[in-house]
């Protein structure tokens, strides 16, 4: 299988701080690689290096078979980039923005216009095509950003936090667009702070923190390491803590963690159906609960599972 993106030992320092500390990364052609990590982990620095916007201090990276520092011009002709920094012009309309990019990519005037119309249609922006971008909603703006990175029909697409700050509906739309692109054979490198986004879109996930890769693998592999959901029960009366702990232990087959200070019992669960079983048992036992919830693993849980320490401690 050929690799569309391959990076080895990328190092980048900004003054005293090392933003990247030897990042290795590989994306097979036609696949989606999700780069997952908290703010400041080095996701954006990685993308900027791969997109030729930043030179690494050490290490090397190839995109589409070309060296990003040795032959940036060829790399640029293969890639598309969407990120909060690679933006469109707010004063221009959607059509004007896309036409400008088409003209810069040496399309004829008619060709650039046709490409703009087609992309605006594809991203459901036809109605807003003539309006200045500054009047667009966040979701529309992001769709135009995405369209702008596709004018060149890139083989490799970098999406740096494409859904950060979007509402769930707009987020879903972006996800669908990404799936369509991948179906057309585009290789996508996507950075995100959201586990479910990586889970939904990525064929493989790279977790980075403090400029290092801390884990990588398919979503299900990582999840197995992270564990599934967590059940949380908070009985109304502290006297019921023991009984609740027994019920939860019984049903999950795990010894639950109990926090008597806040009166909370938690345990990992592999089967969501357990929730209703817990409800029935507590009902029968006549236990009143204040809080009963099934929680998905958060990014914190990922870090806890992958590094054995919560995010804050990893920072030490």
């Amino acid at each position: 299988m050929s690799l569309a993106i391959e990076a080895e030992g990328l190092v980048k320092r900004f003054g005293e701080t090392a933003a990247l500390n030897g990042v290795d990364l590989a994306a097979p052609a036609g696949k989606v690689v999700g780069v997952l990590g908290p703010n400041g982990a080095g996701k954006t620095t990685t993308v900027r290096i791969l997109a030729t916007l930043l030179r690494p201090d050490a290490g090397r990276a190839m995109v589409g078979g070309y060296d990003v520092t040795g032959d940036p011009h060829r790399v640029r002709s293969l890639i598309g980039l969407t990120g909060q920094y690679a933006s469109v012009d707010e004063d221009l309309s959607g059509t004007e923005n896309l036409m400008l990019l088409g003209r810069l990519l040496d399309l004829s005037r008619a060709g650039a216009k046709a490409r703009a119309v087609r992309l605006l249609e594809q991203f459901e922006l036809t109605e807003a095509a003539g309006r200045a971008v500054k009047t667009y909603s966040g979701g529309m703006r992001r769709r135009l950003d995405l369209a702008a990175s596709l004018v060149s029909r890139p083989q490799v697409l970098f999406l740096d936090e494409p859904t950060t700050g979007l509402d769930p509906h707009a987020r879903n739309e972006v996800w669908q667009m990404v799936r369509r692109l991948v179906a057309d054979g585009v290789t996508v490198l996507l950075t995100t702070q959201y586990l479910d986004e990586a889970d939904n879109l990525a064929d493989s996930i790279v977790v980075i923190d403090h400029g290092r890769v801390v884990a990588e693998g398919r979503a299900d592999e990582l999840k197995r390491r992270i564990g599934g959901q967590t059940i949380q029960v908070r009985p109304n009366s502290a006297a019921d803590m023991d009984a609740v702990a027994r019920i939860v232990a019984d049903l999950t087959g795990m010894i639950p963690a109990r926090d008597d200070d806040v009166g909370l019992i938690t345990a990992p669960v592999s089967d969501p159906v357990l929730l209703s079983a817990v409800v029935r048992r507590m009902d029968t036992a006549g236990i009143v609960v204040d809080e009963l919830a099934l929680r998905l693993p958060s990014l914190d849980d990922v870090f806890l599972a992958l590094t054995g320490k919560p995010v804050a401690e990893v920072a030490e």
Binding site: L3, E6, L81, A86, S87, V88, E90, S152
Partner: protein
């Protein structure tokens, strides 16, 4: 890792680079058309200066509004072009801050294209600035006493002056963090430069140190050249002096601007 045995392409042909520059200049012009208020500083503002100085101070400075209009207008044209020449720096700085610049940088276009585009769009600003001010002055009674060729040379000289002075703004624009800072720093340069000249008052009325400066200052030289070209009088001397200044500005600031720009684009 597959290594492809082709030499790296670093070079975009000059024709292509120029076309990219024109595409980006088009963008600059669309922005002006959509937000004509960004021309206020080079249209309304100089008109206000013209009206205030001519009707308020004209009598005191030159003994009559008509005479003063004839001396002030050519000088004000120089000031206005210098004001217009700071916009390339502001535009480039805005693009860097808003991330539009990075979009261009990640594309296979000439590295120089955003710069060429900003400077080309500026030429249109110069022409608008010159046209509006000259038109208003004519309405107020300004009369050209020379021939059309001299007027053309005057306009060409003004555009050239703008194209030379814009490198100061580009340099500043690549150094400072915000567009507002570019604007403020450039104002702090342009205002003393134009008020410390014979644009508004004859040098003879100034204290000796200021007069010494005013007599040789680029703005005075260019203003005298404009007076010669538009209302008659000596042209060659002041024009040569003005052009020498322009050459000096380019010699100093073009390399500085290019170095600062390259640091931002590479």
């Amino acid at each position: 890792m597959t290594t492809i045995a082709v030499p790296p392409t670093r070079f975009v042909s000059p024709a292509k680079a120029l076309r990219h520059g024109f595409s980006l200049a088009w963008r600059g012009l669309v922005k002006i058309r959509k937000n004509p208020e960004q021309l206020v500083d080079v249209t309304i503002q100089p008109i206000i200066l013209l009206v205030v100085f001519v009707y308020l101070f004209g009598g005191a400075i030159a003994g009559g509004t008509g005479e003063y209009l004839q001396t002030l207008t050519p000088g004000l044209l120089v000031q206005n072009t210098l004001m217009a020449s700071l916009s390339a720096g502001v535009a480039l700085n805005t693009d860097v801050n808003k991330g539009v610049f990075d979009r261009f940088r990640a594309m296979p276009i000439a590295r120089s294209a955003p710069l060429v585009g900003a400077v080309l769009a500026d030429v249109v600003r110069y022409l608008v600035a010159i046209g509006v001010l000259l038109g208003m002055a004519m309405i107020m009674g300004f009369r050209v006493h020379t021939d059309p060729l001299s007027v053309l040379v005057a306009i060409a000289t003004l555009v050239l002056a703008g194209l030379c002075f814009c490198w100061i703004a580009v340099f500043i624009g690549m150094l400072v963090p915000t567009p507002a800072a570019v604007q403020n720093i450039m104002m702090a340069i342009v205002f003393p430069l134009t008020f410390g000249s014979n644009v508004f008052v004859p040098s003879a009325t100034m204290p000796s140190f200021l007069r010494a400066w005013s007599d040789i200052s680029p703005v005075s030289r260019l203003a005298d050249a404009m007076r010669g070209l538009l209302t008659g009088g000596p042209v060659a001397g002041p024009l040569l002096g003005g052009l020498a200044w322009l050459a000096a500005v380019v010699l100093v600031f073009f390399p500085l601007a290019m170095r600062a720009y390259r640091r931002r684009v590479s």
